[in-house]
């Protein structure tokens, strides 16, 4: 029964136009969250980092995580990848409780996840090509397919020229984009971004946000986007990507007619989720801490 409901939207012969972002909710996968935290606690020695964090990310949704630096945002992401284990609470990926998974058990879960690390974290002893190819090499994919995939991903981040360079020869923005290409190889259904725009000039930061928007809207990727820059929040929660008549990707701003529902914001403070909602709610919040964070002083 449930299976039937799930299949229907995909059997449509094309005559049924699915309006933007108003996709049917009778898809079981859309109801079960892709990522879920249930009352997660974590402390390093005496220092409490996460103190009862619960939230969930639905399929196709982008969750923006805001918070002071040192507030536990990267830690949250490391927990999702199983690089770290919580002291208590549960973490579910695709409905699967990964909290007590061993390193071996985590491997298939990690294959569903692409991770963009804070400073890029490129392997600096190997070339850009090998960096992007890394995951495929580990899976023993044959060389022809690897090269095809690597070129496709580098084209996506507009860096095909840099294919033979070493990471040390790249600028900060290029390193970040190679990091994104590496994360996207194998078309993961979940992408985690850890401050992908920190320290970049505004146009480059904008480019990176556009990449994230394209993945969200055109490829149905679920993601967590950690940032502390409000203009990133602005881009991601008010613009969407569509393909126009001539087949180009264009970005449009949400208007009265259409309101983005696939991007939400949560804010961490002192190890707790102090806010969880849309960007409109965030901006109109009366809480002095949030107001301060959103608008700077005062």
């Amino acid at each position: 029964m449930v299976e039937d409901l799930q299949e229907k939207p995909f059997m449509a012969d094309g005559s049924e136009v699915i309006t933007d972002f108003e996709e049917p909710i009778n898809d079981r996968n859309r109801i079960a969250p892709v990522i879920e935290f249930r009352d997660v606690h974590l402390a390093f020695d005496e220092k409490v980092i996460l103190d009862g964090v619960s939230f969930s990310v639905r399929r196709g949704e982008t969750k923006l995580i805001l918070g002071r630096s040192g507030g536990g945002k990267s830690t949250t992401i490391r927990l999702i990848l199983g690089l770290l284990k919580p002291d208590s609470g549960q973490i579910l990926i695709d409905g699967e409780d990964i909290t007590n998974y061993s390193e071996e058990e985590m491997m298939p879960v990690r294959q569903k996840i692409g991770m963009v690390f804070q400073e890029g974290a490129l392997f600096d002893s190997i070339s850009v090509y090998e960096n992007v190819a890394y995951r495929l090499r580990e899976q023993n994919v044959d060389e022809e397919e690897i090269e095809h995939e690597v070129r496709r991903m580098l084209r996506f981040v507009d860096l095909e020229d840099a294919i033979d360079k070493m990471p040390a020869e790249l600028s900060g923005g290029m390193r970040r984009r190679v990091g994104i290409a590496r994360a996207l190889v194998g078309d993961p259904e979940i992408v985690l971004y850890d401050e992908p725009t920190a320290g970049l000039d505004p146009p480059t930061a904008r480019t990176i946000c556009e990449l994230a928007i394209k993945l969200r809207d055109l490829q149905d990727v679920s993601s967590i986007f950690v940032t502390h820059e409000m203009n990133n929040v602005g881009y991601l929660s008010s613009e969407y990507a569509i393909i126009n008549e001539s087949g180009e990707v264009v970005f449009e701003k949400e208007g009265e007619r259409l309101c983005l529902i696939n991007t939400e914001v949560i804010m961490l403070r002192d190890g707790k989720v102090m806010f969880n909602g849309t960007d409109e709610q965030l901006r109109s919040s009366q809480d002095p801490y949030i107001h301060n964070f959103v608008y700077g002083k005062n």
Partner: protein, 256 residues
Amino acid sequence: MNPLTRFVFELQEISVLIWRSFVSLFSQPRYVGEWIKQMDLIGVGSLPIVLLTGFFTGGVLVLQTFPTLQYYSIQNESGRSVATSLIRELGPVLSALMVSGRIGSAIAAELGSMVVSQQIDAMRAFGTDPNRKLVSPRLIALILMLPLLTVAADIFGLMGGAIVANQLYSQDISVFVNSARNGIQVEDIIGGVIKPIFFGLVIGSVACHKGLTTTGGTVGVGRATTDAVVIASIWVIIFDFFLSKALQYVLDVGPM
């Protein structure tokens, strides 16, 4: 954590590290390419300094002991005295100390900077076990290469000794060589090769552990590097004593 708890804790972590690397040798993937790369870096790369160390150590041994031996009119036995001390003690220990300085620091620094730049996290996130890819090849390379380096150091040490005896004390080369050949026992050679196997394991596991547990950014990498060299060197010297005792017992060459 008090120092004793900390020590036990680190010892446990190092044992786990060694065990994991050992177990990983029995299943795919094995990254044999990495093994060869590390053997080249560690073995071939350390050859010059180890040979120089051996050569001059052998030389200085003869330089210092020849007058004493001459005093007792047994200078014809200088080859034997150099061979015994080189092969049993100085060859293994000095090679291990040189390698600990050169390779221990390099391993700790490399792994440490991979930790602080999140490359280790990235490896795990993209499906690689860092133990397999980084630790095992380094341990294997050290365990295989250090004995070979030690043998090379011993040979160069004997050459150094022979040259000093011949040039500075006008001893005939053949006298030196014969005395050395008579002095060397099979037990010495076995012991002299077993020791560096253990030293290689000590240096590699301490350096990998220090590197992989680096915290605190680039300053932390510096600290990990220094710690790795100091701790590995101390352990080499402590181990040397107990290994010597154990080998005397096992090979039955104890005090007569």
